[in-house]
Amino acid sequence: MGSTTIKDVLISLTALLIFPGGLFLLLVSLAYEWVDRKLLARMQNRVGPRWFQPMADTIKLLAKEEIVPDAVDASLFIGLPIVALAGVLTAAIYMPFPGLPPIGSFPGDLIVTVFLLSLVTICLGLAGANTLDRFSLVGATRTLTQLFAYEAPFLLALLGPAFVARSWEISEIISYTDGRWLLITQPFGFIVAVIGLIGKLEIPPLDAPEAETEIVAGALTEYSGRGLALFRLAKGVALVLGLTLIAAFYLGGVATPLLFLVKTLALLLVIVGIHALFTRLRIDQTVGLWWKYGTLLVLVQWLGIIIWQGVMI
């Protein structure tokens, strides 16, 4: 038993820290950030950054001095970015990333994953509320407001595929969705999930929490150096994982790394297109959008699914 345990531990550690989680995931997230920025630049008729730019940014930030402002809880200030990154990296364990079966799995891991992804937003909100900076405070308020707005519809949108697959376990859902394009049968759920991801990652047009022309960098205004780098990494990882989740659920699964690449990048193109096309929404408009349309759409979707299943039975 002893040798197998050590082997198991080694395998688990590798999976957590190097491949497919950990280091590999971080690199992939930096690559996706580059694709995001490059696509946006090309859509705006600009040149855009070179491939190593996100990595250079991160290394630079990591190497820089981290200034801990007065009148903050220092342990929280330093700890929150770590928790955020750790949370999203943990979420990767239950994901079919990158086109491989999930490493870990247990019934109900979908809920855990979604909440691990939300941990980034909660950490952001806490980080903003932790400082006395007025931009941070407004940013934190907006971050948390937005969290309450999109979280329920986003979760409902992800539960749609779970409902038809009759399981709350990601590995079972993806084996059901493999080859089935739920995008066609559940279009509203797909739309809400994509826009929910945009809201979660505070990508324009839903970037009111960090609208630079109003509140500088929102909750992250006081962050510099390492903390900022970790938060950025966490957001990058959350983007990749969000894309994976939506592609696996709605776009016919990501059974192989190639399919993963194609489908997530296509999804990224859509998100960048939305980013480029629309004006930033005010926070009241964002909340209105979610509660007026987002939730309603998902509920209509659910009603449809329930009726359909009733008919089938």
């Binding site: 630049a41 090309r42 705006q44 008729n45 600009r46 040149v47 096309l277 629309f278």
Partner: protein, 124 residues
């Protein structure tokens, strides 16, 4: 009610070259009238000093070396120059002009910012 009115622009740009000019690697031609570094042609200079008098930035000094043989020296400080072209306009003899080629004037050494025209006439 219209969503995404700029979709056309985005699609065109996505499949065309960026409009940014990659400056140090590719350069577009400078216009003929570009106001770059000041050039002095000493032959016609009568040493009236109008250029220095009108210069709003104090970037010009005219020094009379020898009035008999009409030897003048023009000291020009490109770091003070605001490239307005008033000196060129003021000069009635037409001995000043602004180069449209020399316009990348950054330098690490202060000596680049003190150009003395007509200094070494004897030596040359």
């Amino acid at each position: 009610m219209k969503f995404g009115t700029m979709l056309g622009d985005l699609t065109i740009s996505l499949f065309s070259k960026p409009s940014t000019e990659r400056y140090p690697f590719e350069r577009s031609e400078t216009p003929e009238r570009l106001r770059g570094l000041l050039i002095w042609h000493p032959e016609k200079c009568i040493g009236c000093g109008l250029c220095a008098k009108d210069c709003p930035a104090g970037a010009l000094d005219v020094i009379v070396l020898d009035k008999e043989s009409k030897k003048y020296q023009l000291r020009y400080y490109p770091d003070r120059c605001i490239f307005c072209g008033q000196c060129v306009y003021s000069c009635r003899q037409g001995c000043l002009e602004m180069s449209n080629e020399k316009w990348e004037l950054a330098a690490l050494d202060r000596s680049a910012f003190e150009i003395i025209y007509g200094e070494c006439l004897e030596n040359e």
